[in-house]
Amino acid sequence: MLLGDWIYQIIFYAFVALSIGSAVIVAFSRNIVYSAFALLLTFFGVAGIYVFLSSEFLAIAQVIIYVGGILVLVLFAVMLTHKIRDVKLSNPSTSPYIAGPLVLIIFIGLIWLIMTTPWQIKGALEIGGISDIGNALMGKYLLAFEVSAVLLLGALLGATYLARKNSL
């Protein structure tokens, strides 16, 4: 293997380790603030993997939407919560003997599904450009685009209504 390929491999696995390692912290940390901040690294690592898949737009959109929007919102919610350190679990897991095999079955099933699905791999240029994405959104997928826009508008109006001091 060439040295150049080695460098690619190292960077790729660094991103993989970053995503998975921080995702583990998100799931298992007792401190919910650490979970929220570890989510930052998870999103960043996943964005890096998107870059390796030649979909820069998806990587950047991931950072804008998840880091700039959702993570900041989550952080706001977490920090306005009272007593966030060392949360006492009111409902500890009842039986790991049922959950364990169940999770294992789902894991194996997913792996089997990934291995057997005939993935349609397209060239990077076919999916990468923003003008293609724009044309697709305004052409073939116009209905889905408009419906999601109406949904978001509805959510916005609902939030404004709830935030009013004297609700109508």
Partner: protein, 378 residues
């Protein structure tokens, strides 16, 4: 994408520095190149932060009819060196109520968001760390790390004032991102690209082909909206509520001292430089000369290197002018209240930016339509 950069660098290395041919793979060259350029930019940003802090104090002195720092070096020019040494020598205090890990990490997260912007800036003709096709979008994305860093600093300090400052700052950042995004969209609509080099390339010609003079007076309005929102994004007066010292002690970095405080301080000035650089690129033609020719080229002949050097000079000059305007505003205007701050964003800047985007869209669309159908008797 990565392959393209690497090929470009390989050809650059092969053609321009043949005496440096070492049998190393191009990826290694690329990484070395990134580190060198990154180091240069980091050093430049720090130098700028130091000089800007000195300039700010002198401008403040001038505006307020007093002297300002004028003892260290000629006219006090080395004041920032003295301040820097002082900050390095200071003890690095971590309050006992603080969350140690996050308290230490916060300045770095904030600095990633600020310095990440520099990776996509075109400093001069075909000079930039990376030439991203989605450069503008990338800049918008990476700067969202700043909000996370500020919240991290405010929460980890374990101090109510810090947390309040961080909350104010983060809500301000995410609100003012929206008018900024719409201003970006307007420019992308005019230019038809998100590549920073191509955006500047669209503005070549005379000074009147800069985007600020297109579709008069609507892009001027877009520029003003962007500049006001950029003031808020950098937490500068009249939007410096996060650091309102009369009510919040010092904002999200109240508990920081020594080198960590210096990181926040430098981050603020580097951020100022970055937003002014973006304004320069999008509206004022980036590294293009305001004259119809490049002075060095006219004097010494048509060499590419001279164009690059002079372009860099113009780029920095335009940025410094905008930075000066920011300082001027800081020492002239009083501070807004929190509710006024939000009202300005949502009730003034957002409708204006949306309206100008609509008008420019219709205008440019009409131009395209008439030129397309001119031959058909319309």
């Amino acid at each position: 994408m990565l392959k393209e950069y690497i090929d470009a660098i390989k050809s650059f290395v092969d053609t321009t520095i043949p005496f440096l041919v070492i049998d190393a793979p191009v990826e290694l060259w690329y990484i070395v190149w990134i580190f060198i350029f990154g180091g240069v930019v980091l050093g430049g940003a720090m130098l700028f932060a130091g000089l800007a802090s000195f300039a700010e104090r002198r401008v403040a002195g001038f505006v307020q009819s007093r002297l300002g720092p004028n003892r260290v070096g000629p006219e006090g020019l080395f004041q920032f060196v003295a301040d820097g040494i002082k900050l390095v020598m200071k003890e690095d205090l971590i309050p006992s109520a603080a969350d140690k890990l996050l308290f230490r990490a916060a300045p770095y997260v904030l600095f990633i968001g600020t310095l990440g912007i520099f990776a996509a800036l075109p400093f001069s003709k075909s000079v930039s760390i990376t030439n991203l096709n989605l450069g503008l979008l990338y800049i918008f994305a990476i700067s969202s790390f700043v909000a996370v860093g500020i919240i991290m600093a405010g929460w980890a300090s374990g101090n109510k004032w810090s947390l309040l400052g961080a909350m104010r700052s983060a809500s301000q950042l995410i609100s003012y991102e929206i008018p900024i995004a719409i201003c970006f969209l307007t420019i992308v609509m005019i230019a038809g690209t998100m590549n920073m080099h191509q955006i500047i390339g669209q503005q070549t010609g005379s000074i009147f082909s800069w985007f600020i003079f297109r579709y008069p007076p609507f892009t001027v309005i877009t520029f003003i909206v962007y500049f006001i929102a950029a003031l808020a994004e950098t937490n500068r007066t009249p939007f410096d509520l996060p650091e309102a010292e009369s009510e919040l002690v010092g904002g999200y970095h109240t508990e920081y001292s020594g080198m960590r405080f210096a990181f926040f301080f430098m981050g603020e000035y580097a951020n100022m430089f970055a937003v002014c650089a973006i304004a320069t690129i999008l509206f004022l033609g980036g590294w293009l000369s305001p004259l119809p020719f490049f002075i060095l080229n006219a004097l010494f002949g048509d060499y590419q290197l001279l164009t690059i050097i002079e372009g860099f000079g113009w780029f920095i000059a335009k940025i410094l002018f905008l930075v000066f305007v920011m300082m001027w505003l800081r020492w002239t205007l009083p501070r807004y209240r929190v509710d006024q701050l939000m009202a300005v964003c949502w009730k003034v800047l957002l409708p204006i930016s949306l309206a100008t985007m609509l008008i420019i869209g219709i205008w440019s669309g009409m131009g395209e339509w008439t030129s397309r159908y001119r031959g058909y008797g319309l």
